[in-house]
């Protein structure tokens, strides 16, 4: 039995992102493990600790994206796989999902696929739902807690975070879940894990290895251009007044004048 976590490297969340005149984004040159995926990796390792399952971490990307895999191994995943094929250059969500689903199928015996809630750079999560669809498995998004999981009986019960509060749902396994911050406290790598990760030879699965035509991995959509957020303009104004009452009145007048209220 297998738990698979799909992780990705994303630009450092502390980097200043800029967009040039022709719409190319500069994300900075440092990559980090997508912060949401840290929860996903930890959850896989926790499941591995509590159940007799193998934890595998998969990433899709070029060589510099292997760090997410090393991080997964260092935290305690048993094995790592990198998916890459030149046909995936500039991939969209669907191409991503097609490749990932094929890798999960190739592993076989997978009960659960875990994703972090979204990618921190482009704030996108469609590839997660598309992966579930490609696999034909149930999709449980925004999981805040796995309340119960029985790999043998093939059932899972989770608590999902919704805009209104939370919702408890159960499903058959195999399933795909995406996890939010409440699910756990991300683990640090262990030194033994680091030693293992540093030595690991990570296999690369290309289209042929996934049993796919390169054409199946071609994208239907493409990023044309990025646009920078409009600069925020604003100024601070300190409201004078002898008493709090006067200050409050002046503030209300101002807010009405500016049509904020």
């Amino acid at each position: 039995m297998h738990v698979v976590v799909i992780a990705k490297n994303t630009p450092d969340t502390e980097a200043t992102v800029s967009v040039d005149a022709s719409g190319n984004a500069d994300w900075g040159d440092k990559l980090v493990v997508n912060p949401w995926d840290e929860y996903a990796i930890t959850e896989a390792v926790l499941l591995k600790g509590a159940h007799n399952v193998t934890a595998t971490v998969i990433t899709l990307g070029t060589e510099e994206h292997a760090e997410a895999l090393k991080h997964g191994l260092a935290i305690g995943c048993d094995q790592a796989i990198r998916i890459w094929d030149d046909a995936l250059a500039g991939h969209d969500g669907l191409a991503y999902a097609t490749a990932v689903a094929a890798a999960v199928n190739k592993l076989g015996d997978v009960s659960l696929v875990i994703f972090g809630k979204e990618l921190s750079d482009i704030a996108s999560d469609q590839h997660i739902f598309q992966t579930a669809r490609k696999l034909g498995w149930n999709m449980l998004g925004f999981v805040a807690q796995i309340e119960a999981i029985d790999f043998a009986a093939k059932t899972i019960r989770v608590s999902r975070l919704t805009e209104q509060g939370s919702q408890v749902v159960s499903s058959a396994l195999p399933a795909v879940i995406s996890v939010v911050k409440d699910i756990n406290e991300p683990k640090y790598p262990t030194f033994i894990g680091i030693r293992k990760a540093a030595r690991a030879e990570i296999p690369v699965w290309d289209a042929a290895a996934l049993g796919l035509d390169a054409a199946a991995l071609s994208s239907k959509t493409a990023h044309i251009r990025y646009q920078a957020l409009p600069a925020r303009e604003g100024a601070v104004e300190i409201i004078d007044g002898a008493t709090v009452q006067e200050q409050a009145e002046a503030l209300v007048d101002k807010l009405l004048e500016d049509k904020v209220l």
């Binding site: 090393k70 260092a74 640090y188 790598p189 262990t190 030194f191 033994i192 680091i194 030693r195 990760a197 540093a198």
Partner: protein, 404 residues
């Protein structure tokens, strides 16, 4: 020549950085103000394996090399010197002494539990009247059958009230013709009858750490706890300093980095005369120097670490690295305070803490004055290293990382 760190180095460094920044940094100021050891530091460093980082796996450690130890110390002192002090005494001055001088039985009995973080370790050489001149120490060890009876008082001992195992240096022959030949090293344990300890209050720096005294009154120490031969203690004590100084210097590199990073951030934010102070050339100069000190100090430390990995004697190289790195950490901290203006003078910012901490490191483990004498004496050939009966083992990855 290869300046690159390995993937293992970088990942270990990142892991310790995350720990120190996420778990300790948010509350360090509180404990520094209270003059009390941060309660999470030792247990978490134990749990995460940091306390055994460069000890072979077969002795309960993590199997990393000596360079990793330096990287770890840098990350720890980036947050606060007290975290690095733990590595200096527990690892540099105690665990590594066992790696160098301990018998197989002593490694099993002391090193393994220390590396696993089950026991904390300290090192007690200094006395109230014997600091820079340790040969003048007065603690005694009198042999009676299968035990030594230890008497005396040690001062300025880091982790005095927290350590379980303490490497104590005492005189077995107070009247030896050549006084340094009358000195012997012993591992005493806190639970031995006649051992009492206390904290020293009112310190300028390392306030979130523990520094204290250890009194020994007729403490019976089994012969099996003697580290090295009788009369070999001075060499044991000095070889410990080769490792302790390495950690202190590596920590000072972290302190310089802290000064640099905080100064860069502040210089970009703070404005005078209508521009960020970073635009003023005199401010740039301070930042440029901090960068230079950081780079040079780090290179000296890594060179010493490389020598340790190779199994080559590094007394001089380690001493020069410790001297330079700690002196420059004081200068960097002074500049960082200056750059922060009045805010640097307040404990609202961290830089005044860096300064108070940095000042300790130019005193302990051989003051800067002593370091200068050492360098001059090597250059003048008044001092030469003689081979030791036991040398620190070279780093051998297969031996270090295999279970047995």
């Amino acid at each position: 020549m290869d300046f690159a760190l390995t993937e293992e180095h970088v990942m270990a460094q990142q892991m310790v950085r995350d720990f120190a920044q996420k778990e300790i940094y948010p509350t360090i100021k509180e404990w520094d103000r209270k003059h009390a050891p941060h309660p999470d530091v030792l247990p978490r460093m134990a749990e995460l394996g940091i306390l055994g980082i460069n000890v072979p796996v077969r002795y309960g450690g993590q199997g990393f090399d000596y360079i990793t130890l330096a990287l770890v110390c840098e990350e720890l002192e980036r947050v606060d010197a007290t975290l690095r002090v733990v590595m200096s005494v527990h690892m540099g001055l105690n665990c590594m002494a066992l790696m160098q001088w301990g018998t197989e039985e002593q490694k099993q009995r002391f090193l393994a539990p220390q590396a696993r973080g089950e026991k904390y370790a300290a090192y007690a050489l200094t006395e109230a009247d014997a600091g820079s001149d340790p040969v003048s120490l007065r603690s005694t060890a009198r042999r009676e059958g299968d035990v030594y009876i230890l008497n005396g008082e040690k001062m300025w001992i880091s982790l005095a009230t927290l350590a379980d195992n303490i490497l104590v240096i005492a005189k077995t022959d107070p009247h030896a013709e050549r006084p340094h030949k009358g000195i012997t090293a012993f591992m005493i344990t806190r639970d031995m009858k006649g051992v009492t300890t206390g904290d020293i209050h009112g310190k300028m720096g390392v306030r979130a750490g523990s520094t204290g005294w250890i009194a020994m009154q007729d403490v019976e120490v089994p012969v099996e706890n003697r580290i090295g031969e009788e009369g070999e203690g001075f060499y044991v004590a000095m070889s410990c300093l080769d490792n302790g100084r390495y950690t202190v210097g590596a920590g000072a590199v972290g302190c310089i980095r802290a000064c640099l990073e905080d100064s860069v951030k502040y210089a970009r934010e703070r404005e005078t005369f209508g521009v960020p102070i970073a635009h003023h050339q005199l401010i740039k100069q301070k930042i440029a120097y901090m960068q230079q000190w950081y780079d040079a100090a780090k290179l000296l430390i890594l060179k010493a670490g490389w020598l340790k990995n190779q199994g080559q004697r590094n007394t001089r190289e380690t001493a020069v690295a410790k001297w330079f790195a700690t002196d420059m950490s004081v200068k960097a901290a002074l500049e960082a305070v200056q750059l922060h203006g009045a805010y640097g003078f307040s404990d609202e910012y961290d830089v005044e803490r860096y300064l108070r901490n940095a000042k300790g490191a130019v005193i302990y483990e051989g003051s800067s004055e002593i370091q200068q004498l050492i360098q001059a004496d090597y250059a003048l050939e008044y001092r030469k290293d003689k081979p030791l009966r036991c040398e620190l083992p070279a780093y051998d990855v297969d031996y270090w990382q295999s279970e047995v």
